[in-house]
Symmetry: C2
DNA sequence: GTTAGCACTCAGGGCGAGTGAGTGCTAACT
DNA sequence: AGTTAGCACTCACTCGCCCTGAGTGCTAAC
């Protein structure tokens, strides 16, 4: 693949991404200064098609890039666009203006990404079970029940109403909380050692209370186990893409977007260190083989926290999506910190 | 308007709701046993059009109901369908199977309603400020900050990270919580009397701590003020309605559905005791003058809690929507109670 | 008052011609 | 040998046309 072929491929991909129409040799000759005539470009395009980088709907229509073509473009031809300082500042401002509660960070991230990229954004929030126990407290509710509040190192707070075993007083519960706090300090929630349970049992020394304590802990775990939350944004933006002019296609994709479990699987399958792009046919799931996904993992103090992703037609502005996710990837934890989420 | 006219109007509305096609005189004569010929029905339809109950796209197409026609149908002609015991049981089962956290009740309600009615469902969750203060507690986070947990009578729990003023210890905070709990017992959050503030001030007697306390309270209020949460369900279901065969229309309505503030306003405008139906032109907001809204308010222990609504094309199955919302209206609080939300 | 009959209307589908963007091939040019 | 101009060909798309069928409105007869 010589230099000129690459330039032609680049021109085709760029034009197609911009116009969403199959691009012909004349258009390229006019809009890109390749210094050759349309006829020559036609020959190059025929070669590129033979090599599998371009495709043809029918003999007399322009070319569109194949998955392989996009792949080559993303890996080598695309010029990386990086966000301007102004854009970065805007993102920070957006967060400060809109996010008032910890839980909103993820939703707003999804919304922000979808606005900028005009595609669907997916944000997979951290699994609570992966984070370390910080403290458990009880608040009195009435004489039979109280509210258990569980906090983890990552700053997550779960609350849940629990019944107090008959005979137990609120003071018993307070004592239980102290014991549990002592024994579980620093444990990650998905791997509480047997020894910790034994210690709790011996320290509480009341069988009824012990049962209740175990109940609270396992209940908090059950609830979040395998249930990282998924935030979605931009189904509306998506509709402005010409790929979704057809209602049937929209219905299909909306259907898929409501299958939370499926989306999580897809995200997990595509998960890897840093930025990752999966293009069209490279997707295992049939329903989105005309779509691409850009994913990035984000971290907090070196700890893997979750995934952010852009899902859109293969004709996606990869550069923009990648630079945005890259920025998020690096700075989401800063933003979160600024909002006072973590110490 | 004589009896036969009413029967004809009823037939037209029913057929149109079912088929989404303008209905003609022959169709009615065939499908409804009115005992008269199409020609007679034609005459009646012409009268109904004159009276404003029916409309005409062009001379040679069938009739469709006008807003006024739907209104007459809903108010008088429609036979109320009530849910079967099986359906009711199914709803209860759905809740028990899907709802594991208090916050999910609303989301699942929206999802359920949209599934049953094949339209968009809106659930306006209670305003925190309308409920009574129950208690405030602090959990230690680190040496400079702690987590404030605010609970109200309706069972809502808000948590928020607050900085401790320099010099204050966690014990100071605990004391502050006790004072606040004493002074605010039973107040509704949007109407805390001045006297209560004065009492807090005098009892805390430390100006710094007093500021911090006020901060926490007003912060909790700020956050939720005018910000009842809105849960949406069924944008996907909506697409199966023939009214939304056109992507532009879909885009418009999705756009509107993302304007949370606007939706809240619309819901508030339509809010009233019990079941309420607003049809087509009766809507003030132009964007949905080809849509109808059915709203119901729901209660808990006699206290107004929030609103559930169905939004769909005027050609909506009013009977179904109304009976479903009616059931929800009566039983949502039961369901919520069963899930242990409230004592 | 009801109905049959008839002329009229109009959206929607199918069909054919024309248009234009684009290709592939070949022969000439540098 | 690579590049280009020229030309025939392809094919989606649009437009106008006709036809069909569902439906109306009117009138005259029952």
């Amino acid at each position: 693949m010589d230099d000129r072929k690459q330039r032609v491929l680049q021109a085709v991909v760029q034009d197609y991404i911009e116009s969403a129409e199959p691009v012909g040799s004349r258009t390229i000759a006019r809009r890109h200064d390749l210094g050759v005539s349309p006829a020559t470009i036609r020959n190059e395009m025929a070669d590129l098609e033979m090599l599998g980088y371009l495709e043809h709907i029918h003999t007399s229509s322009g070319r569109i890039p194949s998955s392989k073509g996009y792949r080559f473009y993303v890996d080598g031809l695309m010029q990386p666009t990086s966000l301007t300082d102004e854009e970065k500042a805007q993102i920070d401002r957006w967060y400060l203006a809109r996010v008032r509660r910890i839980e909103e960070v993820f939703q707003e991230t999804a919304r922000l990404i979808s606005r900028v990229t005009k595609n669907v954004a997916l944000v997979l929030a951290p699994q609570m079970t992966k984070s370390a126990f910080r403290c458990l407290q009880f608040l009195p509710l009435d004489d039979r029940r109280s509210v258990a509040v569980l906090m983890t190192d990552a700053g997550f707070i779960e609350n849940r109403i629990v019944a107090m075993p008959s005979g137990a007083t609120f003071e018993d519960f307070q004592r239980m909380a102290r014991v549990v706090n002592d024994c579980l300090a620093g444990c990650t929630l998905d791997a509480i050692p047997k020894a910790a349970y034994r210690k709790i049992r011996s320290e509480i020394s009341d069988e009824n209370l012990y049962e209740a304590a175990i109940d609270v802990i396992s209940c908090a775990l059950d609830d979040t186990e395998g249930r990282e939350r998924l935030y979605l944004g931009g189904t509306r933006e998506m509709l402005s893409q010409p790929e979704f002019r057809d209602v049937e296609r929209v219905k299909e994709i909306l259907m898929m977007l409501e299958e939370e479990q499926l989306l999580k699987e897809i995200l997990h399958a595509h998960l890897g260190e840093g930025l990752r792009v999966t293009i069209g046919r490279e997707n295992d799931y049939k329903g989105i083989q005309d779509c691409s996904i850009v994913t990035a993992t984000y971290h907090l103090d070196g700890e893997l926290l979750g995934t952010i992703a852009v899902l859109g037609p293969t004709r996606m502005e990869y550069g923009k999506a990648m630079s945005l996710l890259g920025y998020m990837n690096e700075h989401l934890s800063d933003v979160v910190r600024k909002l006072g989420w973590q110490g």
